[in-house]
Symmetry: D2
């Protein structure tokens, strides 16, 4: 996790304070369930809640851990300092450390998912707003970086919306993947603890009980979770690359917002760098790099080994914090992106009408000219545009042979942008359902 690429709400999920708070809740709810079952005295369960509003002292817990070499025991010892040793003596009974650790990790991932889902909704709102704003802003569509046929800026935003809407769905599924808890003991057999305890704790924490665990919650869930984040990150890169292309000097169809006061802006007005979208490109790589290790974590030995742990201590916070930051940065970027419709038109006309050559070719054929002849007609006029900088339509209108096949009005019609935008409403309806 890099502080400069992080936001406090997500960072807080991964703080020791939050972790100990969740541990406390797991233990306290477990005591309640055990009291319900008559396994431990009710008053001991109730006593634990005395620590309900305590802010656990991380430094003190670290101090204890330095002696016990065990984080959960250190926490329990500290908890007893608040609750009273005697009252606390049934806390954690029949449980194993992983019951606490794995359930806590999933609570954190669920909370992280909730933030990411909210981030995504904010991004979708921005994309939708910009899509409608530029629904009819014509620009040239490009395949291979080469001008192809006209499209609109609204369609560009709409396709990013559609892609991110799929990603919202993927995040919701990812959240579902890891929204389970386990309180099942040393090898998951519930030998020392009743399944009812797991059910109660999970219910209180908003989780489903893991149907079958083995000290640990199975890691295919987490692999699927991080894989989903990797897909989302790749889509962020997709938008970032589009913006970087639009801002490059020769294209200049859009610019990242540049506040009036930002230094250097007006002495070198051309030198406004798309640093936010470049940064997003790098952040996408950082999120994506969690995917393979998360998959390598799946194949644990027998009922568990602890190889996954160090990996998750890193990628758990890092991937969610980075993705949260990236989504928020992208939302601001989309929201304030400066669009230059005039430059879009100027670019489209760079090769004065040539992008319409295919339509003219088709029209000639449909007018009965053989494909070969039609090709020659288009070609001889196209070359004048390409080599001498003439205007394609003007040349066509002056070509006797072309005029034999197509009327001037028909030629004019081939250069009508409405031809290309006629289905924009259809597509918007598909994407936005309205």
């Amino acid at each position: 996790m890099i502080p400069r690429y992080s936001r406090p709400e997500m960072v807080a999920i991964w703080s020791p304070e939050t972790k100990f708070r969740i541990w406390f809740e797991i233990e306290a709810h477990a005591c309640d369930a055990m009291a319900d079952l008559g396994v431990i005295p009710r008053e001991n369960a109730e006593a634990v809640w005395k620590a309900k509003d305590v802010e656990f002292d991380v430094a003190r817990i670290d101090e204890i851990e330095a002696v016990t070499k065990h984080d959960v025991i250190a926490f329990l010892t500290h908890l007893a300092e608040h609750v009273g040793s005697d009252e606390a003596r049934f806390v954690h009974q029949g449980m194993t450390s992983s019951d606490v650790l794995d359930t806590c990790f999933n609570v954190q991932l669920v909370r992280a998912s909730d933030i990411l889902i909210d981030d995504m909704k904010a991004l979708l709102a921005a994309l939708k707003r910009r899509a409608y704003e530029h629904k009819d802003t014509v620009r040239i569509g490009r395949s291979h970086g080469i001008h192809a046929e006209p499209t609109t800026m609204g369609l560009t935003f709409a396709r990013f919306y559609a892609e991110m809407d799929r990603n919202l769905n993927r995040l919701e599924k990812a959240r579902y993947e890891i929204a389970t808890g386990a309180i099942s003991g040393a090898v998951g057999t519930f030998a020392n603890i009743d399944p009812a305890v797991e059910e109660h704790v999970c219910k209180q924490l908003g989780l489903e009980p893991e149907p079958i665990s083995t000290q640990v919650i199975p890691r295919d869930r987490h692999a699927a979770f991080f894989a989903a984040l990797g897909v989302v990150a790749s889509s962020i890169e997709n938008i970032a690359i589009e913006i970087r292309h639009m801002q490059r000097t020769e294209v200049l169809e859009a610019e990242e917002f540049f506040s009036a006061g930002q230094k250097g802006s007006s002495a070198m007005p051309h030198k406004r760098n798309p640093v936010l979208s470049e940064n997003l490109t790098g952040l996408a790589r950082l999120v994506r790099m969690a995917v393979v290790p998360a998959m390598e974590n799946v194949a644990l030995w027998h009922e568990r080994d602890i190889s996954h742990s160090s990996v998750e201590r890193n990628i758990g916070p890092d991937a969610t914090i980075t993705l949260d930051f990236a989504l928020a940065r992208l939302t601001g970027l989309v929201d304030k992106l400066v669009i230059y419709p005039d430059n879009m038109l100027a670019n489209m006309h760079k090769f004065r009408g040539l992008v319409m050559s295919q339509r003219v070719l088709l029209a000639l054929t449909q007018a009965g000219v053989s494909r070969e002849d039609a090709y020659k007609l288009v070609q001889r006029n196209a070359m004048k545009v390409w080599e001498e900088g003439r205007d394609f339509k003007t040349e066509l209108l002056a070509d006797e042979d072309v005029l034999k096949a197509l009327s001037a009005a028909q030629i004019e019609e081939k250069f009508d942008l409405g031809y290309h935008t006629k289905h924009v409403d259809t597509i918007f309806k598909r994407v936005f359902g309205e």
Copy 2:
């Protein structure tokens, strides 16, 4: 794709013959839709279906492609050889090559998914059968590769079942991700083709129309698809690693099936190598390596670039063929896995009763012995087992101080395996719902 790790049905999906067959169907259905719209004559649409039962001549198409340098044009030329040049002249009208290529690729991925889903169901059936067969076969549960507490072989199979059941769900979602088609023209604006054509073709091919495409179908879908395969592969590795551990000489709780006639089996009966599960470990890596490139494919330039194409020509067939083979191999492996219940018991008793030391410790504490004293009592008996190879229960029953806290019957009870298996039915009900 490596022939020795492939099965014919999946390979067939990726053959040139299948590809051309799908191309044909896309073109022919598109003609139907255009005839419905009155864009092309009905008889020309009907004429295309003359090629319905033709087996396209791959060599001939390659020959044409060598001249035209364009695969779709080569195919259309060959198609015209069957349908008649004049009758075929409206085929592909208003379409762009990617309309055919991308829709075809998704048809292939959908068919591949169908096979993978069937593979998974077969695997689930095998896992379930073995789970019930060994529901009560007690073995030692292990964390960190170290004996922990008893569990059953049935629970091991049941957890693999639960994991693969989640993977079935992931495969179904992955299939859904890529079950779209696009017939939307050069930059996805439907400038030259009516959206109704796309709708008709998709319906006929069992796809949904892509809500918004840009010559290409957006690649976040494929990234999500291959990511799902990577998770499934990681779960295969998980089962493979378990089998490899069970078969290692010192453990020998299971063996891959070894046919009676297989040479070497009886002269060196110890030398039966878990080569199938080792192979599955490697195959998992091969499937997984498709994930990152598929994610790198998402960020195409503007409306499309073709960088994804070479990647997909490889990972499309390779990842699906390899995963299909791996799932089938794993199903056979699970189905015929030879289980050695006696060795399981022998292993569990390797340190004669020591795995119960924690239960005894707990019992002593619950009987009122201070934690410190209880620890010492367990320790002094445990060390005799560890260092002198004695039997833990025998030692405890002979320890006066232990007997002051626990009766002989109580000590006996701590060694009852039923304590550990009492919730197996509960877990099976969770996993299998029955």
Copy 3:
């Protein structure tokens, strides 16, 4: 391996015929060494060479393997069909299959390296030629895709040369990594075969004996090998991205060579797509995807497991064939790349002189103007260029306040391109050493 992205010489290295030929050589040389040691009769060793010019019958070997289920035994059986059962009875004595398989794999990788090294030298020659050709062809340097300061096309080629020269070095080191062989028996102890056999075989095949093997040659070597290929592939992508950028419609500083006869070129002269460099971008991903599995292959169980085998059957041929093809394609691309110096100048002047604003700013400061005032002077002239399309130098020359600090000649001098190219020779000398 995708046929369309492969070249015959590299493909041949990975053919069954080549493999069996190498197996034969390993076995025959081993027999020689054993005869030298007096372990087997000289005449038997000599008899093996009867098969020296035999083309082994792959179909026949496959047929035998279908029965024996063992590839090396199948080969030996077939070899005996040529040499005579009796004469061949000492072949492979004391050896284990991996002695043959691993040594053969490394021979193949060495040969593949030799081709890749030659490929790289050809690429370097092309880059060097183009670098000198365009040493003084001025173009604008860009950071963040935004115009920065002038540079030359020759420097661009020179930096690709320097990068690929480092890659040549990496390939040579990669070749060295895997240029070892092992004939050391079941667990690498030479229990059944003398180390002298390994030495002889390795010497004959141009390999070093692996200092310590364990049935297999250690896989850190192969991880390092494939990692090097991944770096080379990333550099290919680097050049490909530059070309794609140069060819995009708005930039058009270069184009991939487009043969006169290639269809579509003149009717839509703007529509020449950089498909080769886009393809190289994808191929780079394919090569790179071998890196992680090769690293996952390192941690084999004890003296060996066979999980690496299926991975290497794939990535061995695929990564080398793809990289060979990519290097050759890139060489052709560089060699014939069409450069447009006029467009380079036109692009540089897109914002009429603004790229010099920083130099002017610096000059004003050096002439004693306070940084704040200098900034204002530059700014007010820059904004006229940016907003009204004026020429920067003209504006400066007409600005009284600027003229108070700088003479007209001094202003003119700031627009001298020679200022930016004065160290090109220095850099060329560093890169090319001449």
Copy 4:
């Protein structure tokens, strides 16, 4: 970076304090060189060194950066607070931020490499010591996790030594890859700064001047660097997996050192978990995950984009800190690993002599028995061992038919372990050169 998996010396390299110290040195040395060239007054160059012993105030620099939004400018402003605005006015003249940032990053990587190289040497010393200590400690070699033929524990350590010695070499090459600096200006043309400045600064910092840079140092260097770390990490995993296998309950040929006082050790003496080597397995994944993003960083746009920056801010510290920690942890682990030679022998004899069946088979054939008959003879005795737990040698010595071919002494000889260890010295000489 996870604090619990880090060591202070490596962490210090990546602190802001160290970074600013390096920035200072770059700037101060650059001033010296500029003074030598007569570009700036000598006294200004000398004045900069007034800050030589200053500990830069990170909080103050952050405060300035919050205003300037530029890290290098913030630093320079703070530097001027120490040196005096006037004296400092030539600092950074003609340089671009990347000159400082990239050169500093490489200084940090070089220092990190130096630590890693020292770590590796310490590991090699430990491995060598243990190799000689257990040169003759016989244990069973295993392929596929199945007993094969005897080897020695010394050979296991020796092969890890050989592997890590190759890794030492790779680290040294990795260090060489990134030991360059660049002071070449906005697009690397030295337009505003003389190459002599770069040469001087690099020399002072122990770097080579980058032959050709483009504002940034080319990232193929860093890709190669991180790839090398990934290979080293994979080798760490290789050793870790071996230890984990040796410690698993059924094998117990070694244990991670467990201090006498560590709780739980004696009440549950079997429950000593190989947590350090499991942790190393996870750390290896963390280091390895830097490889692909580092390769994705190579293809920057034109003279540079900044997408690599966020990636490197993460992987620079994280990969080096994690690898340093892992190497140190592994060294301690190897150094104190508790070896159980008796258990090694016991394991080898688990199937009482069966591991020698292949030698007996060979001996029978060499004694003239047909391969088929020899097989039957071995088989019938082997099955008694396998099924009835008899001793192989005893059975053979009692088999009349066997005795017809082999004398009792010859049979005894086949069970001589010296046969398997006879080349240990040869191999040690190859590995350790002594």
